[in-house]
Subunit: 413 residues, 2 copies
């Protein structure tokens, strides 16, 4: 793992030339006490890249933004929370375009320079009549300080309990560059990808090819390795905009400065990915499942994902029960090659099972390890060099209670 960079203030507004704002349209609550619309804007032209959900059912804003990005570099992002504008058909596309149009007019941009995102309830029409009139206000309110960035990070929250932001700086090709980001997560967190939005700004000068490759690599090592409830959202989006305001020599694909830039971008996304898991709906624990010694990396991934997604394993973590039997059992059905009599399992660094059998490690010590709010589960298959890590969480009774009634409540609003 690369050296961790020192964090700086200001998240998406830390890089030069980026502004942010937030307003309320009354989508998340009718009294409009909480902001639910954010705009992020670059004063300068950017190169952009994005990764969108792999769900076959893609929300209207995802379809619109991905088509815009094919021909045009982005200058702004407009995001609403409270309604996902997903499963909303032709009307959904019209509404997503209306958001892009209103934002581009207020910012004097081309419509295709605006990326549109939505997050929230699925299958309910977007109340675009409440959103459009607020967009000029949001543009008027754009600012470049940390408070503006934080307001934007709060406006994109749905069932998140806290905003998620980060910024770092690093020297690349002799110049200091900054990377800032905000994200939201909470429900339906699974790789490929989570109900998850992440917006990254950087003032580094980066080539188009490099920004695309770096974004893909960072997403693969962060958001694609987290799992809360095993579901994949229709709206997941990561957008990166680089505006070159730091005036460094351009970072080209795998060229000079690329390693430093990618390391920083990876750190930013992994930090937010872990924050998303920790803040998963009614989650009490962040668990890092590390599989090594697998016959291949793919086998390691299968085993890690099976453990991370097992309801029974997650229940035992919630109960602070060091049940390694459920872990080996999930490994057993994962599809990975396994020799039971060779499997070692570590919980919080303590050897719970050796060669597929219980060790003499005291149960009280193991219980203490799973009582921590963060711990690792290490699984060594002793079959090869394959390895993979997934970041996941426990499953709580409160999660179920929390997820029981969303649709009826929203339809009756």
């Amino acid at each position: 793992m690369a050296r961790k960079l020192r964090q700086i203030e200001g998240s998406i507004c830390a890089p030069k030339g980026f502004l942010a704002s937030a307003v309320s349209c009354g989508i998340k609550d009718p009294n409009a006490t909480r902001d639910d619309l954010a705009i992020i804007y670059s004063e300068f032209p950017t190169v952009g890249s994005a990764v969108f959900t792999q769900n076959e059912v893609r929300a209207a804003p995802v379809r619109l933004s991905s088509s815009y990005l094919k021909s045009t570099e982005p200058r702004a992002i407009v995001v609403n929370s409270g309604n996902a504008n997903a499963c909303t058909g032709h009307e959904g596309m019209i509404n997503a375009r209306a958001m892009a149009s209103a934002t581009s007019k207020a910012l004097k941009l081309k419509q295709r320079e605006v990326q549109v995102c939505s997050t929230g309830i699925i299958g309910v029409p977007l109340p675009v009549d409440r959103i459009e009139p607020k967009i000029p206000l949001a543009v008027e309110g754009l600012g470049r300080d940390a408070a503006h960035a934080e307001a934007a990070s709060r406006a994109i929250m749905t069932s998140d309990t806290c905003p998620k932001e980060i910024a770092v700086q690093t020297k690349v090709n002799g110049k200091m560059v900054r990377i800032g980001a905000i994200a939201k997560g909470a429900g339906m967190i699974n790789p490929h990808m989570a109900t998850m939005l992440c917006f990254v700004t950087t003032d580094a000068s980066v080539s188009k090819a490099e920004i695309e490759a770096a974004t893909k690599e960072a997403v693969d090592h962060s958001f694609n390795r987290i799992s809360v409830d095993g579901d994949m959202s229709t709206n997941d989006t990561v957008i990166v905009m680089a505006n070159g305001a730091a005036e460094n020599d351009q970072i080209t694909r795998s060229g000079k400065g690329s390693a430093e830039f990618r390391s920083a971008l990876n750190q930013v996304m992994l930090d937010l990915a872990k924050k998303i898991v920790s803040d998963g709906e009614r989650v009490t624990k962040l668990v890092e499942v590390q599989v090594r010694g697998a016959a291949s990396n793919l086998d390691a991934e299968r085993a890690a994902r099976a453990v991370a997604n097992s309801k029974l394993v997650k229940c035992s973590w919630n109960g602070e029960d060091p049940n390694w039997g459920r872990i080996i059992h999930a490994v057993g059905y994962s599809g990975a090659r396994v020799k039971e009599e060779m499997v070692d399992i570590y919980i919080g660094g303590l050897l719970a099972a050796k060669n597929g059998l219980a060790t003499k490690t005291e149960i009280d010590k193991l219980s203490e390890a799973v009582s921590a709010s963060e711990f690792t589960v290490g699984i060594d298959l002793h079959l090869g060099k394959g390895e993979y890590t997934v970041y996941t969480a426990d499953l709580s009774p409160e999660y179920v209670l929390f997820n029981r009634e969303e649709y009826s409540l929203n339809r009756k609003k």
Copy 2:
């Protein structure tokens, strides 16, 4: 679907020549108030077939029984509950053999004629010293009435709340034949297969090839289509013994009488499979997920399983919330080919979504449909002729509470 046969009394003792018994060894509770050891015995030679877990981690009794069955037809089954004898290494194999040996001695059989099963906690040594002395008592207690069969069905229960048994009779090749069965399920119920034991007896005369093919077909249409929590057990076993005491002309593979016999066997296993889902740990609803119009049967299976295993979909059912958005979204990430604008979703027969969009069906009517203790979810992808059905259940807060602490509790006993 074939005509449903009338049920008869006596489950595994309904077919001629089969006896059963149950005793307590003090595994499930130290005071030995609940039976936890059962024996099923055929007075006559049988042909047998079995389907075992596909988990790579296989419990000692599974390894032993499958090896015995390769060379020898079974005459008896000995089963304990409370401890799975899984992840118990070499000692586990010795203990499983000890159960077979003690049973074969008491019944004057060859050791390989005894199938051994265990169900319960994983990773804790089997207390075989408590089991062995009770086996002769169990053999002495063998009887052929319904009470003996029911006692056996209760002795194999773990977290099941009620025993699961069934028997039917049907005329095959001019003679009346009987099929009886008992099963246990509850936790970790997923296809290929569940923590699930099922023992089937029949007095039909059946060829070896036919009993094997019929067993595989019936398991594929029942136990492999149920899903409670998405986990697969290390111990799952279905064993079928046919002793020919009905003296019908032998049923041969796909020959005369095969259709009637298979239809009856399918009915028996499907009935028990549904009982297992309904009695899943803290389950409140039995849901039949029917996918049709898929591009292929495999696509239909992928879509049905994704919906049946989605934690968010299951939570909404628990909350009696007709959230079709979560259903289409699970279909979207299932890997099946999907055109969102063509998907129809029915809840309890009511059209909730048409062409991927909400219908005008009143939300109160949809809520009423998901309030039933049994309902269907129909999903038509309108892309082809592929179809598949999965039987599943909701996910309750009580399930999580129930599954929190098993290992620590058992290690501290």
